[in-house]
Symmetry: C2
Amino acid sequence: MSLLGIDIGGTKTVVAIADDSGKIIAQSRLNTPREQGPVAVLAEIERSARGLLTHHESRITSVGIGCGGPLDPERGIILTVPNLPGWENLPLADYFSKAFGAPAYLDNDVNLAALAEARKGAGVGIDHIAYFNIGTGIGGGIVIGGKLYRGCGNAGEFGHQIIVPDGPPCLCGKWGCLESLASGTSIARRASESGFVGSAEEVARAAREGDSVARRTMDETAEYLGLGVANVVNILNPRMVIMGGGVMKAADLLLDGIRRTVSDRAMTQLANDVEIVPGVLGDQAGITGAILLAIEGSMSSCDSTGESEVGIIRREG
Amino acid sequence: MSLLGIDIGGTKTVVAIADDSGKIIAQSRLNTPREQGPVAVLAEIERSARGLLTHHESRITSVGIGCGGPLDPERGIILTVPNLPGWENLPLADYFSKAFGAPAYLDNDVNLAALAEARKGAGVGIDHIAYFNIGTGIGGGIVIGGKLYRGCGNAGEFGHQIIVPDGPPCLCGKWGCLESLASGTSIARRASESGFVGSAEEVARAAREGDSVARRTMDETAEYLGLGVANVVNILNPRMVIMGGGVMKAADLLLDGIRRTVSDRAMTQLANDVEIVPGVLGDQAGITGAILLAIEGSMSSCDSTGESEVGIIRREG
């Protein structure tokens, strides 16, 4: 009896098998072949999961899936994902439910990472948490007392707040969003505009080695992120902001600048209330959250009344 | 047996006596003599309230006070108010509790207006509401299922999100905030920079009469407000945004532009989820909320657990 967790990212996908308690016993990481479209991606994920199962001879009892949004967790379908073209209205939960003959649940990957950091990572014991995921894109999650706050279903799109009104185009179809300035993709683009050609990781490495263009690019990135965090601080007044995602592997280059910008730009009282920390789960945040989803079936939401939850319909195979 | 409500604004203060059910039976509106400092303001408010009482011969059983923040509702004190200099650490609840020999409760004026619009105004029956108050300054409130969401105590500072990173200085001590661009004060300042000298109200009137500078100033104001609403929509994914406060008396000049900007700039899915409406309580929103506070003693908060509330300590006179 095993749980299957799937964390689908624009670049990498993680598949994991966990025992009943949520302990991961086998895991694989694959490049998301997104240029081949959703059918190929789903087949590749399924194959990878079956590969893990073969070695561990377990039956899957529940599947938890994290993917970029906006999506509809109740119906288990993707609505639109800026960095996964062609995935509109994809019935993701249904696919894996049928494939493994088990109920499958879908939620926003960053919400799941937020929940994992809040419950099992940097935010344990903290009531009011905002989580930023800085990766290929930028997502966010709001966790209040261990529960996600969803608004109408997709709250926490921190990456699409407007930071520079006449800023660059964003994959969401708008422009000037935080994601268009400070995501991994945008860091590489901004560096290349200044003559440094390389990925965000390469920009960070060069910055550490003293390259001035790379260093300036990272400093500006910290300032953009700081503006985004400052706005979230002013709007939500959280106790903690957790900065996660692949780009935060460069926390050594970014965190001081983010904190300084928040201190300079958020309201003093609210800036004093908040602690800004890196995530501690690293690459494992998303898959840890997907396993939490497989365990709990539907993630509880922070709701005004404490009575209702945003349910996720079970998809029996 | 009567309730006393006090709504202290940077420009005007409203004092009202209500019956046990919250129905306002007498009300007065006075200019806030803020240049004379807090002692004079409090004495003037007290005198005004006693004047209403004289005519209605009731004993006050509870006092609800709304004032700008940040403040500490639990201790009933003001922390700092950008547009009320000299009010730092003022024990406002204590003052009125002693003056009227009744418990007194303090909360953020815009939170109270938000709650009034949500419970008795434009938002009745709506679960996820963000309220903007565009007046002398710009404040906000988050109401989830009829309860305020406070974060660490002062969530909803929508006016101090950064809209233009290198924008003008703001009274909060920072710069480029929504308030520094689109509050009543800022509308007048921006118009004067283009050669039109007059209050925000006069700018609006001139815009209606076809003055091109005034018209452009109001169009830009709508766009700034739209950016601020778009960010709140992306972060909170509310079902409704209610636009209240004195400046929204020019809703005829602003609302279309705000809606268009949100549609252009917020994520499509989240923009589709939200209805943007003017408040219906007008000038009465704040005092209606102050009376709600007097009735309920401490305003219930949206809390993750549904167990605890942000309490407001009773101040017995």
